[in-house]
Amino acid sequence: MIEHGPLLERLLEGEFICAITDEHSFHKLQNDEMVDDFNHFLRPLNRRVAKNDDGSVYFLAYCDLTQNARQHISHQFANTVQSLLPMLEWMQLVQEALGRDGALSAGDTIKLQDFESKVVDNQSLIQRMSHLANDKVFKSTSDKPDMQIKQIFKRIKELGYLYQPHKDRLFYRVTGKIEQLIELVRFIKDEENLPIDDKTPEQEAMF
């Protein structure tokens, strides 16, 4: 167990481990026996190793949903819900600006410069981006597009949805945590019976 100390510590700190942020650790967590060992160790801390539906990201979940645990989950859920719309809008913005085929998914790379040059060329994208930057999730105080973009990406990196392989290069990779977010969106849609499954012409046009 000694050699897995750093990994356990990162998990305990609430990090999401995926093939993009740390491929080596991710492969370790794909080993069921090792996960059993981890769970045994984590049991007194009321934690276990959990993964999302398609197994693209690992994190710690509570074993027993005690009052305390529920409180923490509530708090986190509230935060996630608050950042939900801004995150979805950001994903749309990136997809449109970079002219991608599909929505962003784990492993996609985004060069900040490319994104910036595409946004700056398009008045409507600038407006949407600056509206997004003023959201309380991103908290940008600047009115310059480049600073707003930097702030947005910085915040999303802090939220764990982006990974910056080199500290001084503005090039990001989308992490597996985004899959978790999409799963949450799908879950909410199903659970709340949101009337968003019907194809309306307007939404089709947007797509």
């Binding site: 609430g14 990090e15 979940a61 645990a69 599909g102 929505a103 799908r186 939404q203």
Partner: protein, 423 residues
């Protein structure tokens, strides 16, 4: 159910009804043979009874086009095509059918030439026949190659996901048409056509079959890839739609309240994420074996990190920078004096300011240096001041006034009203 007796009663009264029904039934009766004819482009008289054939001709289902073999009337062909909803299918089928027809006639001419013993003509016909067969397989080959090409670029020539999916559907239809074309090639017929002629057999049967099976294998692979790509594109589309619709919904309903998932009896797995805990550790000196490592660490700790104002400095103007320079010098002087006092504490005896300055090779002017020591001493809190003793080595400059010039100061710890040791 209530209408059926009524219909029954009106049916016989209308002669058109009876006739139409009879004709449709006639078509139904010969469905197999007619469909075969539709696919092959011509019919064999032998597949119908004399009576049946006459009936089909009378009811304008079949006809003999000028001096040609028995065929379906164009209107019937169209009926079948529209019922099966595949115009293209008919297109490619007739293409292949045409090839086969021509092969058929070419073989007959070849055999006729051989019969007559016309060697040159038969050679010529054989050449044309080979070309014809190669043409046909070549067409299949080209079609498959174009499919592969499009697959390998993942339909990169169209930009939007929707277009890509349409392209895949198109490719799938094309693939089906090629397969239908394969279906038309009837090797039994070809075997019969080739008869006992070895060369023909090789060309029409073994070579063709090898090519066709090769193409089939390739098509199967294409089909697999198409299905995979389609699944992937659909997934991407689904995701993009989900994101678009959810964000549109949330924008339209800014006050939308979600259920209290965290406090349900069954907390959904998707939100069960434990909060982070950081395991902190502190210096513990209760284990003697750690003392060496801890001491090493303690020694490595930098004395006074003073880097924090760096970023401020960069943003200030030139005037400020000069002021800062002076301030830093002042600070450095104060720090050196502080070091001097520390040295005094560490030292077993009192120290001379001037000696210390020389010993440490500091660049301060002696006058400034001594002044700073005195100032530092005077500036000490009363309690700390009592721990030190400061002795000024000064001389009166003139008999006529009380100007004293300080040559040196000696600082030491106060022990019972005196320096710690005799200086």
């Amino acid at each position: 159910m209530t209408q059926s007796p009524k219909q029954k009663s009106t049916a016989p009264s209308n002669p058109l009804f009876a006739l139409g029904k009879e004709r449709l039934e006639l078509i139904g009766k010969h469905a197999d043979a007619l469909m075969q004819g539709y696919l092959e482009g011509r019919l064999k008289e032998s597949s119908f009874s004399r009576q049946g054939l006459q009936k089909l001709l009378d009811s304008r289902v079949l006809f003999y086009p000028e001096e040609q073999s028995l065929s379906l009337r164009p209107i019937v062909n169209e009926l079948i095509a529209s019922l099966t909803q595949d115009e293209r299918k008919r297109q490619i089928n007739t293409d292949v059918g045409e090839h086969l027809d021509q092969i058929d006639t070419r073989v007959q001419s070849l055999q006729a030439a051989r019969h007559k013993g016309d060697y040159a003509a038969s050679e010529h016909h054989m050449q044309l026949l080979t070309e014809r067969v190669n043409d046909m397989t070549g067409q299949f080959g080209d079609a498959i190659e174009s499919l592969w090409h499009r697959l390998n670029t993942e339909f990169g020539f169209v930009s939007s996901l929707d277009d890509k999916m349409l392209e895949i559907e198109l490719a799938q239809r094309q693939l089906r048409r090629i397969l239908d074309g394969f279906g038309i090639i009837n090797f039994d017929d070809l075997i019969q056509l080739a008869g006992s002629d070895g060369g023909l057999r090789k060309l029409l049967v073994s070579q063709l079959q090898a090519r066709i099976s090769e193409h089939s294998g390739s098509l199967l692979e294409v089909q697999k890839r198409l299905v995979l790509l389609m699944a992937r594109f659909r997934q991407q589309q689904d995701r993009a739609l989900l994101i678009n619709r959810m964000s549109a919904f949330l924008r339209q309903h800014p006050n939308f309240q979600m259920s209290d998932y965290p406090n349900r009896s069954q907390v959904p797995a998707v939100i069960n994420h434990a909060h982070g805990i950081s395991a902190q550790a502190f210096i513990a000196i209760d284990r003697p074996q750690d003392s060496y490592a801890l001491a090493e660490l303690a020694r490595a700790v930098p004395r006074e990190p003073q880097q924090h104002s760096l970023s401020e400095k960069q943003t200030e103007g030139f005037v400020m920078a000069v002021q800062n320079l002076v301030a830093t010098e002042q600070k450095q002087l104060a720090k050196d004096v502080e070091d001097f006092f520390i040295q005094v504490i560490d030292s077993p005896h009192a120290l001379s300011g001037v000696d210390y300055l020389a010993e440490k090779e500091l660049s301060w002017e002696p006058e400034m240096w001594l002044f700073q020591i005195v100032a530092e001493y005077q500036g000490l809190p009363q309690q700390n001041k009592q721990s030190f003793m400061l002795d000024k080595d000064s001389a009166q400059q003139s008999r006529f006034n009380h100007l004293h010039l300080i040559q040196d100061v000696t600082v030491g710890m106060r022990f019972f009203g005196d320096f710690q040791a005799a200086s």
